[in-house]
Symmetry: C2
Subunit: 98 residues, 2 copies
């Protein structure tokens, strides 16, 4: 199983409503894309200075499922409509959960 | 439930053996610290350029459990013995999994 993790930092000026829109769109995406196994996502709880602003942790059955997600038009639309306008930077990783 | 995510980037020159030692020590820590609910961790699969090098995704029942983990001497020893010497940078976040 492949674990896909992304930590996002918002652009300056992103509003709570925009962040909520990001969250809701990600929730819809999760329901639409079969290749995506499970997903957990949410906004930083501010336990600590210097954290990212939002994160997602998704699982995929294998590399092929992850590749299918990357090329899925609904994922691409989410990137264009929400990630590009709202996100200043992101750190990502995929690892094998043994 | 609190999801705690950290993405690490190694210092230059970190060897595969050192990375394996980091992984093994984290596995031991996970077994020792009761406050830590579940943990998934692993090295980047190199699906994409620019990813982090290692990540962990841990869950805690609540903020108090997360705080207990932060102050646990075995976690502090892991930070001193493995994170400080091997890690150049890290991005972290904690979010509420609904």
């Amino acid at each position: 199983m492949v674990v896909h993790v992304v930590i996002f930092n918002w652009r300056d000026g992103v509003t709570a409503d925009q962040a909520a829109g990001f969250r809701d769109a990600l929730e819809v995406l999760a329901g639409e894309v079969a290749a995506l196994g499970t997903i957990r996502h949410g906004a930083d709880l501010a336990y600590r200075e210097g954290n990212g602003d939002y994160a997602l942790v998704a699982t995929f059955s294998d590399r092929a499922a992850w590749d299918a997600y990357q090329t899925d038009p609904r994922h691409k639309a989410f990137l264009a409509d929400f990630v590009t306008p709202l996100v200043a930077s992101r750190v990502a990783i995929q690892f094998e959960d043994n």
